[in-house]
């Protein structure tokens, strides 16, 4: 079932998708980090795989997701605690702008490393 697209609805859909995605990532991340306990070889081995350019792009998207989810979380709290419901649309635009700027900044920083030799 769908309803006409508008700010609040899109904001929520994105929040839910990103929230679930990050949670999934979190599970994977904890499992990955668990290799730290197994020693250097194991960890660097898996890091080798993870930090390939392809997974890096994936990780950048994840940063985007966290940024959106986190900043939208702030938007939700402004609505809930600071009477923001009358301005929810402009708040959503604000969320996109802030998340977008931060995203491009971090994405640029991260991707520029792909070309840097190591």
């Amino acid at each position: 079932m769908a309803y006409r697209w508008h700010a609040g609805y899109i904001a929520w859909l994105l929040n839910r998708i990103t929230g679930l995605a990050i949670t999934f990532y979190l599970a994977v991340h904890i499992w990955v980090m668990h290799h730290l306990a197994k020693g250097k070889e194991s960890f660097d081995g898996i890091m080798e795989f993870i930090q390939s350019p392809v997974t890096l792009i994936f990780e950048v998207l994840l940063i985007g997701a966290v940024l959106y989810h986190g900043i939208n979380g702030a938007r939700i709290m402004i609505i809930e605690f600071f009477g923001g419901s009358k301005h929810q649309k402009s708040l959503f635009v604000g969320t996109l702008v802030v998340a977008g700027v931060l995203f491009f900044w971090t994405a640029f920083a991260a991707l520029s490393h792909i070309s840097t030799p190591h």
Partner: protein, 119 residues
């Protein structure tokens, strides 16, 4: 048709928890990202991580962060389930058990990574 208030009561505390952990996660994530990726060489290696993780302060911070994110993330998943799927008692209890188990497992996995760690 009579309103079905649903199983159990409350929701207030969990709802608040979701906001509080959310607020805390915001700077925590920023810090985490800056520490691991910015200002140092971007590429993550064993040495880099190990050296930091071994200090007691970082151990504490990491465990705190770990609890927040598991609480927030898994309660998030549970609230999605509550919205539609976890309505019939049997299904609800099953799903709830799964979410809690996954949460605990992740927490333990995190703990065994962080606690015994020596550089």
């Amino acid at each position: 048709m009579k309103f079905d208030r649903g199983h159990g009561s409350g929701g207030l505390n969990w709802w608040l928890m979701q906001r509080v952990t959310g607020i805390l996660l915001l700077p925590a994530f920023l810090a985490h990202y800056i520490v691991t990726h910015i200002g140092t060489e971007h590429f993550v290696t064993y040495e880099k991580v190990a050296e930091r993780v071994a200090t007691p302060t970082w151990k504490f911070v990491n465990i705190f962060f770990l609890s927040l994110v598991i609480l927030h993330g898994l309660y998030g998943v549970w609230s999605v389930l509550l919205d539609g799927w976890a309505r019939k008692p049997v299904l609800r209890i099953t799903l709830y058990s799964i979410v809690v188990t996954v949460g605990l497992a992740l927490f333990v996995l995190g703990l065994v990574t962080i606690l015994p760690f020596k550089a």
